[in-house]
């Protein structure tokens, strides 16, 4: 079953640029970027059980850091992407150390406030971010190679997404992943087992920011322009919705949620005035009828049908 899913996914990923137009490849690039954002969100909320509502800010830090590195300093794009990830995680660690003194709703509000503050910084730090004019991003370069079109960028976007997926699985299976889940299930028991609870939360937060920063770097591979408007709370909520719709706490859910909900949201762009309403409605329906997410819901149904 799992092998089959991987084989189908691989076939689709390989066939996609061969049989479709530039727009579909652009959409695929964007969905893969959101997949990495969702993996980051999964680590902090799904695995560790801590709220983070600053994901768009870390995504933005990654985009600006990678974009400026590549455009102004001409770094090869793998280095730019890494700079994006490291910049976001460095700031993530600092914010995490402060914000994770709080919990639950207070933590959510603190990270939300940081996200809003960062959007203000993106909008007003003209010298670095271009402020409200946005930032032009030069085509990504590596040795003589230049990524101009979406199809050029696609293989590298896919490779980065797969690398981050593998990294997520490695973290989940390592001792670190176990300590994340222990903190989620019972902080008291985790502490009694000798898990340094605060430090574990900060590490989860920092890794999640790293993923968001890498996603930002991926964005610079296929985009020529970024404006702070697309780095607000809406984007954070979109990622959160993807993770919840896919299934909180499972890697497959985070990936599937990003793809499924990403497609829904792209379809809804035809009717922008209904987009927000539809997001809200979808989130409510899932909370009520499929709190474990789309895939757990389908699996239950499927199993139920077979037994019947």
């Amino acid at each position: 079953m799992r092998f089959l899913a991987i084989a189908v996914a691989a076939a689709v990923l390989i066939a996609l640029p061969l049989v479709t137009t530039g727009y579909v490849v652009y959409l695929a690039n964007l969905l893969l970027t959101f997949t990495v954002l969702c993996l980051g969100m999964h680590i902090v909320i799904g695995e560790t059980g801590q709220f983070s509502l600053a994901h768009a800010a870390f995504y933005g830090i990654g985009i600006y850091a990678a974009g400026i590195a590549g455009t102004t300093f001409g770094t090869p794009f793998p280095v730019s992407i890494l700079i994006g990830g490291l910049a976001a995680s460095a700031i993530g660690f600092v914010i995490g150390m402060v914000a994770l003194r709080m919990r639950d709703i207070y933590l959510a509000l603190a990270t939300f406030a940081f996200g809003e503050a960062m959007q203000w910084v993106f909008l007003n730090w003209n010298a670095v971010t271009g402020g409200p004019n946005g930032l032009r991003i030069a085509p990504a370069r590596l040795f003589g190679l230049e990524l101009v079109t979406d199809k050029d960028a696609y293989p590298f976007v896919v490779a980065t997404a797969i690398a981050m997926l593998v990294l997520t699985v490695i973290v989940a299976r390592a001792r670190l992943g176990r300590s994340f889940r222990a903190v989620r299930e019972s902080e008291i028991a985790a502490q009694a087992m000798g898990v340094p609870v605060r430090r574990t939360k900060v590490v989860a937060f920092g890794i999640s920011a790293f993923f968001a920063g890498i996603a930002g770097g991926m964005f610079t591979l296929f985009s020529t322009y970024i404006h702070p408007d697309s780095l607000g709370f809406q984007t954070t909520i979109l990622v959160l919705t993807m993770v919840v719709v896919g299934g909180l706490g499972s890697i497959g859910g985070a990936v599937g949620g990003a793809i499924a909900f990403g497609l829904i949201s792209e379809l809804l762009r035809q009717a922008p005035s209904f987009q927000e309403i539809a997001y809200g409605a979808i989130l409510i329906v899932f909370m009520m009828y499929a709190p474990k997410g789309l895939f757990a819901f389908l699996a239950d149904r499927f199993r139920g049908a077979r037994h019947a």
């Binding site: 001792r175 176990r178 300590s179 889940r181 222990a182 299930e185 019972s186 008291i188 028991a189 985790a190 502490q191 009694a192 087992m193 000798g194 898990v195 340094p196």
Partner: protein
Amino acid sequence: MADLLEIRGISASYGRIQAIAGVTLSVPDGAVVALLGANGAGKTTTLNTISRLVPVTAGSILFEGRPIERASSHAVVRAGISQVPEGREVFRDMSVRENLEMGAYGRSDRAGIRQDIDRAFDYFPILKERLQQKAGTLSGGEQQMLVIARALMARPRLLLLDEPSLGLSPVLVEKIFAIIRRLNADGLGILLVEQNASVALGASSYAYILENGEVAVEGRSADLRHDDSVRRTYIG
């Protein structure tokens, strides 16, 4: 015999409210010592200062002769003190096996961990049958067994047990205490916090009774069991 744990005049407070003041007690090597008292007397706070979950404002804590009152909570676990927190804090969404493995969080000797899981089945055979089950689906008694087994996975020399009888039927309490006696016979030192004074006095060799954050009475458990004023106040 040398003292495994020696606490000298420790105080701790939550904000401005002092929870314990100048508590002095000791756990000799290989002994079960009971810490009794009413609700809010400071029993759990005393345990939490030892496991370094609550900061000490005065006094010292010696474990095997070394001061630990400034150590971090995870350093204390590695030093050989395991706490079983009150209220059966299992990792509900993890299987019984994963819970046990979490207990060995600070260790990396795989062979030793596997060996200790087998040893846990020896004390708690029921856990072997439940191995793949989610811990949240166990009964209260099974969860209590699991948290004790999990604490043992760190290979402690001192076990801090917080209210192991809470909310369990008399039959299960008897079962749990039989295991506590067996663990002690195998050489484990135990500091036992209990509301159920008669059971705790039966299982321990020495006991302290806390009142308003201070040690009000102490003595050999056998003597306290027959002391009229203790009986009136704590056993009824």
